[in-house]
Symmetry: C2
Subunit: 289 residues, 2 copies
């Protein structure tokens, strides 16, 4: 291996330079998943190849995996043989009495000495209620680790050829959830400031409330001609992207219902898809990403 470097930091060379491939990771010193622990793990936007190494390691060592609706079922095939798998999904921003039940289940399993893998779509701490689950674990004295994942609305947008930032376009980006605990447009939000603070707005779980949100943004001065993209089923073979504008999206939604889950992007970065859309026929058939 030829190493050309501009800094003097030591490069940690592999003990056996002839080894390669995934198999050598079986000997790598990943942190042990101890009995009685909960690992809260992000599964990424969908493509199994976007799991982190730590997430895969957790799938190989957990005693039980409790996963959300947003986790790609193909990822579940990687759970180690003999492990238990439980579905704990909810969808659509409906009021849910289940969050408390899920947290209690995690505590119960950990206190029974299980290695508990709580697997959530995207990143567990970005609109994923992972922080609440960890607070409950901490209060109960259950030790936990958080393994971040690629969030659909951040890195995941790469699969639509849409960068969250571009130096010519924006020095900031706003991530926003499209519904509150009751499924309504979040009421505590300062829509005037949101409309003007950043050239790019990325919305999660906003399809249902999109007409009302678009209206608010335009009322507070956001340009009707601002490009808007709806990216459905991010990073999966059936990903689809609808391109329109803030002013025209309401008409589009009267004609069709883009599949969910979807991420909605407002801003000129959506136009960069014209040159950056690499996830096309021939590539998108691959089930791993």
């Amino acid at each position: 291996m030829t190493v050309t470097r501009g800094t003097d930091k030591k490069v940690w060379l592999d003990p056996d330079p002839e080894e390669r491939g995934f198999s050598r990771l079986d000997a790598a010193p990943f942190p042990p998943f101890e009995p009685g622990w909960v690992w809260l793990v992000g599964a990424g936007p969908g493509a199994p190849g976007l799991l982190t190494l730590l997430a895969y390691h957790a799938l190989q060592t957990a005693d039980i995996v409790i996963y959300d609706a947003l986790v790609n079922p193909d990822v579940i095939r990687w759970v180690r043989p003999g492990a238990q798998v439980e579905f704990a999904g909810k969808r659509g921003g409906k009021p849910s009495a289940k969050q408390r039940d899920i947290s209690l289940r995690l505590i119960e399993l950990a206190q029974a000495g299980k290695r508990v893998l709580r697997l959530k779509g995207g990143d567990p701490l970005i609109f994923g209620r992972g922080a609440e689950e960890c607070e409950t674990l901490a209060a109960a004295g259950v030790p936990f680790r958080i393994v971040p994942g690629v969030s659909s609305g951040a890195g995941g947008l790469a699969y639509a050829g849409i960068p969250a930032t571009h130096r010519d376009t924006n020095h900031s980006v706003i991530f926003l959830t499209g519904h509150d605990a009751n499924g309504q447009i979040p009421s505590g939000v300062d829509w005037r400031a949101i409309a003007t603070a950043s050239p790019v707005i990325v919305m999660y779980m906003a399809m249902k409330n999109l007409p009302g949100i678009a209206e608010r943004l335009m009322t507070f001065g956001r340009d009707r001609a601002d490009p808007l993209a709806i990216v459905s089923r991010v990073s999966l073979p059936d990903q689809s992207v609808r391109e329109t504008t803030l002013g025209e999206v309401v008409c589009l939604l009267r004609e069709e219902e883009p599949p969910t889950p979807a991420i909605i992007v407002v801003g000129k970065v959506a136009n960069l898809r014209q040159s950056l859309n690499w996830y096309v026929e021939g590539l998108r058939e691959n089930s791993l990403g």
Copy 2:
């Protein structure tokens, strides 16, 4: 494997249920890395365990790896034997003539028939100039793929026990870069709107300009008592976190210089670290994450 599910989606079970560990991934149908292609890959915030499976696959198949200063050198040990490694770093928001050179180098190598892995810290499309590199590749007719990574300021903050969102705290979060192309506070930014649009502001590369940014936020009404955390060297064993407030951070910076790179978080979510800080002695010594 016991599968308990609430939906009727098919679970894709592994062909050989007795196999486990990383080694079985060597037979998984990852997308081929073709000669003449550039893969633009995010390496995540630092911990090697936060690489995605696709990123690791790319390290195993690339002919040449061109990496940034923000990439953990420990990740470079995983490059396949025989591959070439080039450092193409820049740091500190200085004006850089090198971006154009880097893009031209990628094109040259791809046109020579190499499998070119461009490895960037965090996520390549979040304040990483990855979109610009891809635009140049597209214009030159060089085929490329983008592999997103965990961004330091989004998922990476999990290692500080700070969630980017919490249902009780914020329905939105702003990501902001602290310097423009000339290393100055970005001038096109509407600081009044930024100050009020979201309860949480996450800043990248903002250490140098932090006093000026903090002043602008307070001038436009942001509470001086708002918690502020400086997270240095996210997810690495020498990660450090300084906790203060928006009003007091200037005094803190007169006394000490927190290590960079660092992510700065403003907002009440920073206080959640008191119960969510799991990355402590005994865990943080592990070099993989």
